[in-house]
Amino acid sequence: MKKFSKNKIFILLLPALLFIGGISIIGIFESFIQSIENSGLRIYKRLIFNDEYRMSFFYTFKFSFISVGISIALSLIVIYLIYDLIFYKRKKVEYMLYLLKSPMIMPYMVSAFLVFLIFSQGGYLSRILFNFHIIDDLKEARILVNDEFGIGIIMTYVWKLTPFFLVMIYPALSQIASEEIDMARNLGGSKLKIFFRVIIPYIKNTTMFSSVMAFIFTFTSFEVPYILGISYPKALSVLIYEKYFHGSGLDMAMAQAANFLIILMGIGSWLAILFVKGLRSEE
């Protein structure tokens, strides 16, 4: 490594740090200031006791957790199915992954819209079922979108997050030397056992890190629940958005208070990851 002067280091880093740090700090600061504008710090107490926000929080937490959980499970299943192919049929695996990665191009808005087109009561699936005489009436079609369980929302996220996990985990996976797996197989390991004893430890860290990222992303996202959600409870981001732009001063303050708490949650996870990574690396 070359010895760089302190000034040079500073100059090269400054723009990026200024940008990221600046926008973060401005956003966090303004959010907090706006939240206490109306009734000071008591707004947070009111927030916690507010039914609408509480229901919204649990609803959002639920569908985020389930979405991420199912996506991880699905991607692990795919990995289980292909992990031994990686070594002698890599081209085939990468081609297949190419297909599986295709949902990443579609923005969340369009994905949510498609779920709506297919799974709504008047949508494609319902019509197909009707034509096969599985259901007899439009009203019999299960409500899958704009429902209270957020099934449509979960479907959209699973569709988009599974490729995300595959993309994140695959590099870690391809670093496993084939000799390790051959050795495990020679020692009598079944495919399942090898999966749990050899593969999982290698991809554990990446998976956990990606899960946290995905959870926070899902929890704070706006577009999908906006299109596929219901009026009560709303997803947290949707609630905040609507209260902020169409509410009274008090509503706006409470919205910013909720917003601030979410940001704190994000920073908390960030600190936690920093801490865990610090414990783990020898740098």
Binding site: L12, E30, M96, P107, A112, R127, S221, F222
Partner: protein
């Protein structure tokens, strides 16, 4: 026995692949007219009304605006992340871990969370509801991806190359600006692909910071999603995806030519 298992796994994989691919087809089909009343599966009027409507509207200016946002964002991001990535890889100083963590902040703080706060600040600076504000806003979530890609590129560039360059009498500044980017071009393009995609896929940020003045494709599309005009929304969806796939394909093509020494 092994062949059986493989065949079954193959089948599952193919069905998963198909499952992921069908939505694209549905988008295409639905853009050509409205579905007949329930429960028919055929299109009521197979026409291209929606397509004509979209093409007659301000589509061109929307596309240009989207391109503006994307490209300006990439320029900004490259200008700030390249130096940072370089010094983080090549320099030795304390506090690298914290700085790396700061650069990962946009992933933990959702852009919507800070958009409303940032908008207030932009009001004071006079860049609210402008393209500048929007570019700053969409660059924030895209930064980690561009930064990471460039960082990996520099890491994989053997330092011996830079030594050789300086031995040839080329100043560090010239090497930094003119030569090294050329050598890590694939990584830069990779970062650009993801960064561009993230930047133009933002909806809420553009809406909040742009305030209706900056109309990208997705912002234009949203009202049609909730209304009754699904086919128009489908048209916009297809245009958007052709657009993003086109950009990605072009970068891929450029990369291939690079590797064959034609660039």
């Amino acid at each position: 026995m092994k062949n059986d298992k493989f065949y079954f796994g193959n089948f599952i994989l193919i069905s998963i692949g198909v499952f992921f691919f069908i939505p694209f087809l549905i988008l295409l089909i639905n853009s050509f007219g409205t579905l007949a009343e329930y429960p028919n599966l055929y299109l009521l009027k197979f026409n291209s009304d929606s397509w004509k409507y979209v093409f007659k509207s301000e589509l061109m200016s929307d596309i240009i605006q989207t391109l503006n946002v994307g490209i300006l964002s990439l320029i900004l991001l490259t200008l700030i992340s390249y130096p940072a990535a370089y010094i983080m890889v090549r320099g030795s100083f304390k506090g690298k871990k914290i700085i790396d963590a700061i650069f990962m902040l946009p992933i933990m703080i959702s852009p919507i969370g800070i958009a409303t706060g940032v908008y207030q600040a932009f009001l004071k600076f006079g860049i609210s509801d402008t393209l500048v504000g929007v570019v700053l806003g969409v660059s924030f979530p895209a930064y980690p991806y561009v930064y990471r890609a460039i960082k990996i590129g520099i890491e994989s560039l053997d330092y011996a190359w830079e030594e050789q360059i300086s031995l040839l009498g080329i100043s560090w500044i010239n090497s930094f600006i003119l030569i090294i980017p050329r050598m890590i071009l694939p990584s830069i393009l990779g970062g650009w692909s993801i960064g561009f995609l993230v930047a133009i896929s933002q909806y809420a940020v553009v809406l909040i910071l742009g305030g209706g003045n900056v109309m990208t494709l997705l912002v234009r599309m949203m009202p049609y999603l909730n209304g009754g005009t699904e086919s128009i929304a489908c048209v916009y969806g297809i245009i958007f995806m052709c657009f993003s796939m086109g950009i990605l394909w072009y970068m891929d093509y450029f990369l291939k030519k690079y590797y064959h020494g034609e660039i």
